[in-house]
């Protein structure tokens, strides 16, 4: 829209055309401006992202690999890492299966209230994780809406794994959906119709035509939600009670280490998570590149 506005604007009558003699100086100045812009951008990234990354690597490894090994082999740390991975795994599976379904509906279906559904999908990105935790407490905690139901069946939801998984699912719902919807929209229906016309069943059409076409976008969404799920802290802190050795995830353990002034160990666990997330980042970048290449 705004580009057409710029196009309609009449050319400036007094603009002086560049004379041949001036030209080299102008080019020289522009190269300088470009270099300056790059320098400012790099400085910002250095101060904000790379510097702190170097800081954590230095502090975690400062006291030697022996301490790192000792910390990682503590039962508390191992259990916390295991719990974080378990929650991430369940979250990713649920959000992948249902995310693809929601994406199919949002991309292909038309029904009243579709815009509301679309806004709902975006909501978890804007709502504070702490509020998400509170929501779960209001639903499942003492005096909550569903507390009698689960209490009668002897299922512990709050201060236990179920609520931790639920809040993590809530927080990472948007990633798969938001990545798959645009791919589905650009894909169109021709290939699916061809398969359908040739007698393929619905399941065959989905697994042999649709899924291979959306795979990079889907993997990108999965990587993003896995990264988000393993790093969740605010919501999990509130619903889990952070019971040591029981409902303590890796992030909650880091929080405890820093509270108890065991900063060295906190840095080491944090670096472990950071290392995992950097592997995820490489995955994210690869999938994103493949997906963009596929889309064009």
């Amino acid at each position: 829209m705004s580009t057409t506005q710029a196009r309609e604007r009449p050319p400036q009558p007094h603009a002086s055309p560049a004379t041949p003699r001036k030209f080299p100086r102008r080019v020289h100045r522009e190269r300088l401006v470009a270099r300056l812009l790059v320098a400012v951008a790099l400085a910002y990234v250095l101060v904000l992202l790379l510097g702190p990354l170097a800081g954590i690597v230095y502090y975690a490894l400062k006291s030697g690999l022996g301490v790192v090994g000792q910390t990682i082999s503590q039962p508390d740390v191992q259990h916390a890492l295991y719990l974080s991975f378990l929650i991430m795994l369940i979250t990713v599976i649920v959000n992948t299966v249902f995310g693809v379904m929601v994406a199919l509906v949002l991309a292909r279906d038309r029904f009243p209230g579709k815009h509301l559904a679309s806004a709902l999908v975006d909501l978890p990105l804007a709502v504070s994780p702490v509020i998400v935790g509170l929501m779960a407490v209001l639903l499942f905690g003492r005096g909550g809406w569903f507390e009698p139901f689960f209490a009668a069946r002897g299922i512990q939801v709050i201060f236990a794994l179920p609520s931790m998984v639920l809040v993590t699912i809530f927080i990472s719902i948007p990633f798969v959906i938001r990545e798959v919807v645009p791919v589905l929209q650009e894909l169109g229906l021709e290939e699916e119709q061809a398969a359908w016309t040739l007698g393929a069943s619905k399941a065959q059409t989905f697994f042999r035509v649709t899924l291979p076409n959306i795979r990079w976008g889907l993997l990108y969404g999965i990587a993003l939600s896995a990264a988000r799920a393993i790093g969740e802290v605010g919501a999990v802190l509130i619903v889990s009670g952070a019971i040591e050795g029981k409902t303590e995830t890796a992030t909650l353990l880091i929080l405890r280490f820093f509270d108890q002034f065991q900063e060295q160990q906190g840095y080491i666990v944090a670096l472990t998570l950071a290392a995992f997330s950097i592997v995820m980042l490489i995955g994210i970048e690869t999938f994103k590149r493949k997906r963009t290449r596929e889309a064009h």
């Binding site: 249902f98 929601v102 119709q193 802290v233 980042l281």
Partner: protein, 296 residues
């Protein structure tokens, strides 16, 4: 746009497929909507009922009792600052990444995505490691009278860290699709680099910059993990609203029921949630394809 032909074909296709798939549509639609309803709508209903259910009078009295206003004010100021600063630097980074060739460009592009992958709490740990008073950089700054950790600048850095990719990834695709001939026309007509950017490029980018900054604003308002370790959480000084909510809830779950923690927590949450929801709705307006969040 260029894919008008594809769109018409797709529209025709949809009509035909609809007839064929009329039976199979409802289970999918139902499952998708049930998932969204159970995981998003229900928790939202719970928080609204608890926060606003007792009337606005109770809401304001709950807010006034515990220094909640100062926490909300601090959070708002820092979030707005975050949105503005990253609005500028995010646009700069997107411009540098798209328009300027330099060695290490793809590496920079990967590094910009680091905050998507790194757990927010680990981001806080990183900042504390580099800028804490015990480190080389932090100690040097401290000697020159600049406090970062346990002070508002630390919170600001944490929020900037977490929200940087939102703006970059919102602006980048628009910049990539932008027609270079318009800029060339402006240059040929004698406009300088700055004038070209201000009058041709910026108006085209404005919706994307606004959408990205609004996402950053919403995210910054609710951020917990990155903030909790660097803020120091001193009431009336560096205590942000999400951290306050978590303290109010945890206070009650560990015994001391002297204060009415959950009511106050619900009040602050309802207010923050309302803000987040408004921001989501406004952002939907600015994002061209209706899928604005994380559209990369």
């Amino acid at each position: 746009m260029a894919d008008t032909a594809i769109q018409t074909r797709r529209r025709g296709g949809r009509a035909r497929l609809r007839l064929g798939a009329a039976v199979g549509r409802w289970p999918l639609r139902g499952a998708a909507l049930l998932y969204l309803g159970l995981f998003i709508l229900l928790p939202v209903a719970a928080i609204l009922q608890r926060g606003f259910g007792t009337g606005l009078g109770n809401l304001s009295s709950a807010l006034s009792s515990i220094g909640a206003w100062s926490a909300i004010k601090l959070t708002l100021i820092l979030a707005v600052l975050t949105a503005i600063i990253n609005g500028c630097f995010g646009t700069l980074l997107a411009y540098v990444l798209v328009r300027i060739r330099f060695p290490g460009r793809s590496l920079l592009s990967t590094v910009v995505d680091l905050p998507f992958a790194v757990p927010t709490l680990v981001a806080g740990v990183m900042l504390a490691a580099l800028y804490g008073p015990g480190s080389v950089v932090g100690g040097w700054l401290e000697r020159h009278g600049i406090h970062i950790v346990d002070a508002p600048p630390g919170i600001l850095l944490a929020l900037l860290f977490v929200t940087l990719p939102l703006v970059v990834r919102s602006v980048q695709p628009v910049l990539l699709e932008l027609d270079l001939t318009e800029e060339e026309a402006a240059r040929v007509l004698g406009a300088g680099q700055w004038t070209t950017f201000r009058k041709v490029v910026f108006p085209a980018l404005r919706p994307a910059i606004t959408a990205g900054s609004l996402q950053a604003l919403a995210r910054a308002l609710g951020e917990f993990g990155a903030v909790v370790l660097v803020a120091g959480n001193i009431p009336y000084k560096t205590l942000t609203a999400p951290v306050l909510i978590s303290q109010l809830i945890n206070q009650t779950s560990y015994g001391s029921t002297a204060t009415s923690g959950p009511d106050e927590a619900a009040a602050v949450s309802a207010l923050l949630f309302g803000l987040a929801f408004v921001i989501v709705l406004v952002t939907e307006k600015f994002s061209s394809r209706g899928a604005g969040w994380l559209k990369t």
